[in-house]
Symmetry: C2
Subunit: 205 residues, 2 copies
């Protein structure tokens, strides 16, 4: 291997190390309680070094948001082995909620925080590919449901958006503490009870 190649690999390795440290701290103490100095300390490098590898904090948040989508992809893997699109749509909701609950800070980064979108605006990347792809898998499944005779009278794209909204809405309210506020009869299982309603709902459409 050439020296240049090795250097390039080392650069990538350090970039990954920074992201790994950042993710660890994000999960441990929350995203807005984590500073660049914290991240630098965590991996035994100086603040300056972090800025050699990332333009600014938004760049770190964006890269981590992409990693989040990759992890969501892991949860979604196997979903298309379910051939019945209706069953797949139900399972997709369950898995989405599971991901959100098991990765709350990452979910927040992916779907709530402004930083990753601000990064996109200030860069020449095409667009929000991660979001496009994820929404695409919902939309495809909805279209297959319609081909099988479900969702009569509905339009695939806006309906897919509403299904996404419904599941995202409950995860978002939970993560942003709005469910704790509203005193539910069974607060400990409101997400699961909500999911059961979701299953009934799409079954009726």
């Amino acid at each position: 291997m050439s020296t240049a190649e090795r250097k390039a690999r080392e650069k990538e390795a350090l970039k990954s190390l920074i992201l790994k440290g950042a993710k660890k701290l994000f999960i441990e103490k929350g995203i807005d309680q984590t500073t660049i100095r914290n991240i630098a300390d965590e991996i035994d490098y100086s603040v300056g070094t972090v800025y050699v590898y990332f333009k600014d904090k938004n760049a770190i948040l964006h890269d981590l948001h992409s990693i989040g989508f990759h992890e969501l992809g892991g949860y979604f893997k196997g979903l298309f082995a379910i051939l019945d699109p209706m069953e797949r749509l139900k399972e997709m909701g369950r898995v989405y909620i599971k991901f959100a609950m098991e990765n709350q800070e990452m979910y927040d980064l992916m779907f709530n925080l402004k930083a990753p979108m601000e990064f996109l605006e200030s860069s020449e990347e095409g667009g929000w590919n991660e979001g496009v792809e994820t929404f695409g898998s919902v939309k495809t499944t909805v279209e297959q449901c319609m081909e099988k005779g479900h969702f009569k009278g509905h339009l695939a794209e806006p309906l897919s958006f509403m299904i996404w909204s419904m599941v995202h809405g409950m995860c978002s309210l939970e993560i942003r503490q709005r469910t704790k506020g509203v005193k539910f009869s069974k607060p400990e299982s409101i997400l699961f009870d909500g999911y059961k309603e979701y299953v009934k709902m799409i079954g009726k459409l």
Copy 2:
């Protein structure tokens, strides 16, 4: 009137002035681009004065979040003049979305930002009364729908939560720029098209 009474009134007036200035700046340039110094400048007082009237920034954000709920109440006023609960539920969704789109920063404060909930935790207030009350009006309407024979097989509370989640989800995705990312066929009307699906959906339940 006594001097004490007048002073108490003046204190309230200045508190309102601070909130008014804060709200203006929030709407003009966004919540996280607004600093305490900005607010103080806006109303021609010093930073120190702001801290005499508010414990910290969270306290301002919480009070403004309460004002937001009062404004949402204005949008909701008249909703219970619609006697048919099904029609009322549909209209409730429309009005909720209208409020969210016309008051994006306030909506963000009410349902997305952590600050108002953090303030609640660090104070001895009972709970999130604003949220409880708003959710209550959805739940009441859903229960009335069920009394009229709709939503068979559903549970009122989790179903209400899902309906709230659905409408909140779309507003939240829009406000947090996640709809711009996903390239919809008709991006300019995705919220309205989504609302039409919402109407169809609850009509089928």
